[in-house]
Assembly symmetry: C2
Homo-oligomer: 267 residues x 2
């Protein structure tokens, strides 16, 4: 396949990575995208590093077989646990959402006190904390796992009394620790940005890794001479490991504009 | 293996089936039990029939290879979707939690209006409704999916303001529909029984399928001449598909008394 026309692969444990898909589609409108959501085995956020790494390798292998020229790990948990293994195993450029999110947060932070919220897996991995400390050793990082946020979003309860109470409980005390920037370290969390912003107040900047990741991808493709030109037209496709029906029902919450064709695959 | 000494197999998508394990261990103290929790792929409740059937067959196959003399499907979603396929494929007696739960509910119901709460998958399957209607055609069944109950239990939030609000939202109007018996159609839900009972009031009987299932198992083993005698001693073992650490942490919420050894396996 002509490398310029080869697609970019994006994978996630399920549906949340569509926020990354959307950001990449806006930023790089000439690129064809293959998205894989491992919906039969989601979520990754409650599972062990060992299991997440195994699943991530299978997802990446599926996309490599389809000739992708670059790979985006659009799942925070998989980025946190599996990125070194994937980078070592793959011959194409691979990037996760953690490092772009950290760069964007350091760019936004005035005082260098950065909050990170994510799944149990992402927080347990301390992936954000390690990257931030490497980039700015005197930064202070405060992490919180918020396991109910994903089920709330998937249920469609992105506001209202219950969601407000859950947000208040998880984020209680975060602002008083001096955090001035908060990384939404899970692709579902931007859908709760309204309630999160209400809780932390206007002085705290929320960082969504999706936009930052699209920027990093553009830079990596440019550097590798892999950017598609605008001649070829684009083809997007979505693969899921469980039946497409539920995915399609929820996809519109994450993805503005048209939803590409969704097919079921076995890994 | 001596069939009297062969173990009984019990499987679930994860940890909730330990309520069934506990009921069987109390009811049949001379039986050895093998429990398999498919923690690497949990939950089943949000996934399609096709995927749940595939996973259930793999779980059953694993236990059959270890020589079980009977099989209990301790997951409501897997019972709802996969029981006919498993019964056709296996040479040992197999039972789910749905039919025992229905029998217990019909036994408890005065007016014949029975409520069923469960995961999206269990409710979508209408498994409880079909069995109840078959057993008592003039019964009335009211079903509600409660997708946030499992994450609430796994987070350990079994009471308090947030749990109360979620219970109130899901069960709103159930009592006014004349329901006098409510089946807790998910093995996690007995841990929310306090809040559920508060909402529906003392006139509604809550039915936990675990005890009923242990009774059905005892009857089936007796009928098949498969009951263990009290001479041999028992050996229990738990297998999980993700790392044991998290399972062991949460297991004590579901299982009174000692927790058997937990090993990791691949399916």
């Amino acid at each position: 396949m002509d490398p310029f026309k080869a697609p970019v692969g994006i994978f996630d444990s399920g549906i949340g990575g569509l926020t990354v898909f959307a950001a990449v589609r806006r930023r790089l409108p000439d690129e064809s995208l293959l998205y894989l959501g491992d919906t039969a085995r989601l979520p990754y956020g409650t599972k062990s590093a060992e299991t997440v790494i195994r699943y991530a390798k299978e997802c990446a292998g599926f996309l490599v077989e389809r000739g992708v020229k670059a790979m985006v790990v659009a799942c925070n948990t998989a980025s946190a646990y599996a990125l070194p293994e994937l980078a070592a195993a793959l011959e194409v450029p691979v990037m996760g959402v953690v490092e772009p999110g950290c760069l964007a947060a350091l760019d936004a932070s005035r005082g260098g006190a950065i909050g990170v919220i994510g799944t149990s897996g992402t927080v347990a991995s301390n992936a954000y904390g390690s990257v931030i400390k490497k980039l700015r050793p005197n930064a202070r990082v405060v992490s919180r796992a918020c396991p109910l946020f994903v089920p709330l979003v998937e249920e469609g309860w992105t506001d209202g009394e219950i969601t407000k109470a859950v947000v208040d409980r998880y984020l209680n005390g975060l602002a008083s620790e001096g955090v001035d920037t908060l990384i939404l370290g899970c692709t579902h969390y931007p859908l709760l940005a309204g309630e999160i912003a209400r809780h932390v107040g206007a002085k705290v900047t929320l960082v969504d890794s999706a936009e930052a990741t699209a920027g990093s991808l553009a830079a990596a493709l440019d550097e590798g001479g892999l950017l598609a030109d605008s001649q070829g037209g684009t083809e997007h496709h979505i693969y899921v490991t469980d039946l497409p029906a539920r995915f399609e029902t929820v996809a519109h919450r994450f993805l503005e504009g048209s939803i590409p064709q969704v097919s079921r695959v076995d890994l």
